[in-house]
Assembly symmetry: C2
Homo-oligomer: 300 residues x 2
């Protein structure tokens, strides 16, 4: 699945100004809208995730997208397709998890159909009143690069999960029930006066940095040492890769003039690509470099 190429084809076919950010922003209605799917065998393995956890994650993924826009997550609808042999308990646990993952956002609709495998598609709506809405296109030279949330934990958790480790492990928990950055999103969107860029790190920190860089036409320079991560992550052989390329942490990266409670990890410069300063040297990643190394789901 060449997801990025296909998104470009969709953009060109529809010729829509709304496609490009995590959410579509509809100023006329004062809302943002986002829709995302989780597919069995692609985004999760049925035998590795409990129905409650799956519901929790389905909600969190979409709320994170609303947070990335700066809007206030308010409502959610879900469409779930399930194999014939699914029992009542699965549905109950799934929706309980969804409600908990939704952190107060109201689940207002639930379509359900049959299917061979589990497919979940969730739509979240956020309101924009009192908030300034972000766009990936808004980064400008001179701004700070700010991160909210630890990076690498979820990818480490996925590794442990697939190796058969018990779920009672902080990294596995970070993978299964990610912590969405509601507070940082609220603060920056409510306080900021200028246009700013923001994106969630669902496909990895480097993916978000690279997308902001290419959409805004700027270079992002990041000091690796400043990227917030769990210190215990450093026991993994490839921990630096996990921090940069590991997906599904659902942190936020922003380019803005102030920190708004986040961690400043670098700055926006004229140019293109993402420059990572690490141990007295630095590497510039082009958009193509990043795409080659992107966090891969089980199958994409």
């Amino acid at each position: 699945m060449k997801e990025r190429e296909f998104i470009n084809i969709i953009k060109n076919t529809l010729n829509s100004k709304y496609i490009g950010d995590d959410c579509a922003y509809l100023p006329e209605l004062g809302i943002v809208v986002t829709q995302d799917s989780l597919v069995e065998g692609v985004h999760f393995l049925r035998e590795k995730i409990a129905p409650y956890e799956l519901g929790f994650k389905s909600a969190a993924v979409n709320i994170s997208d609303v947070c990335a826009s700066g809007a206030e997550p308010k409502y959610m609808t879900s469409a779930i397709s399930l194999p014939d042999n699914t029992d009542e308990n699965f549905i109950k646990e799934f929706y309980k998890g969804m409600q908990d993952g939704a952190k107060g956002v109201e689940v207002i609709g639930g379509d359900i159909t049959g299917a061979d495998k589990i497919y979940i598609s969730v739509t979240a709506i956020g309101t924009t009143a009192g908030r300034r809405i972000a766009s990936r296109k808004n980064a400008k030279p001179g701004q700070k690069i700010i991160v909210s949330g630890n990076h690498g934990s979820s990818a480490a958790g996925l590794k442990l999960l697939l190796s058969g480790q018990d779920k009672n492990n902080k990294f596995i928990k970070a993978h299964i029930m990610p912590d969405v950055q509601l507070e940082f999103s609220k603060r920056i969107a409510a306080e900021i006066k200028e246009d700013y860029a923001m994106m969630d790190t669902s496909d990895g920190l480097m993916d978000a940095l690279s997308a902001i860089s290419s959409e805004s036409g700027v270079m992002l320079e990041v000091d690796f040492d400043k990227i917030p991560h769990d210190k215990d992550l450093e026991s993994f052989d490839d921990w630096e890769d996990l921090v940069l390329f590991g997906g599904e942490d659902y942190g936020l990266v922003a380019a803005a003039n102030d920190a708004y409670g986040g961690t400043v990890i670098g700055k926006v410069l004229p140019g293109c690509g993402v420059k990572i300063n690490y141990k007295n040297s630095s590497v510039i990643y082009s958009k193509e470099d990043v795409e080659k190394n992107l966090f891969k789901h089980f199958k994409e």
Copy 2:
């Protein structure tokens, strides 16, 4: 897939006042929201439908739900999951069809992921300004039962399609590219002064009549001869069944004091169930009777 039981479990788990109609109505935002999925092998067969037609239908199904609420369809997002071997042309044709089926509604987002089979989930948003929003719960004794759109054509088309008939046939066209009742919806919602019930006939006319009856706690009495249908349908052996139970016509049924350009097919009475007058006799269908005879997708 015991869809109806599961919907009840979801309702109880979420304890949400919004679940029950074709759309969730959010007065705070002046919008309605609906989300529906089309799954390969359940709602369509890949070898029987062209990508353009699939896109068209995905849009129409959701716009019909917005029409059933009385709101004005405005925006749509889609999440589509596709097998690895899907080519660029599929995406182009699908989204062209979606845009045409959307009848001016703007497609504002398009998530895309991998999957074993084709899975499509579309969310549509309608605005409620200048419109009175319907609910299945609103039918009252004394009201007329009004239908907009022909019934039975789509189910006849599906029969012909599955028997290998050429697509250049009006019934097959009605099945693949259904005609959504935008005008009737607009007129009734803009002109009506009282509360009214309305629902689309995506799962068949009897399904909609039965749902309005049970949700409103009333009996609906319908004269079969008055139900609008294509006269050529009468050449099918089971044409009366197709009219009553055939799904996917995406007509509208309403209970209201006037006709608003639709066809009056009966009246609302105190009681319960759906009474069909046919050839000098009449049959009362309970909710359970209707559910036994419901239009079945390929697999549900």
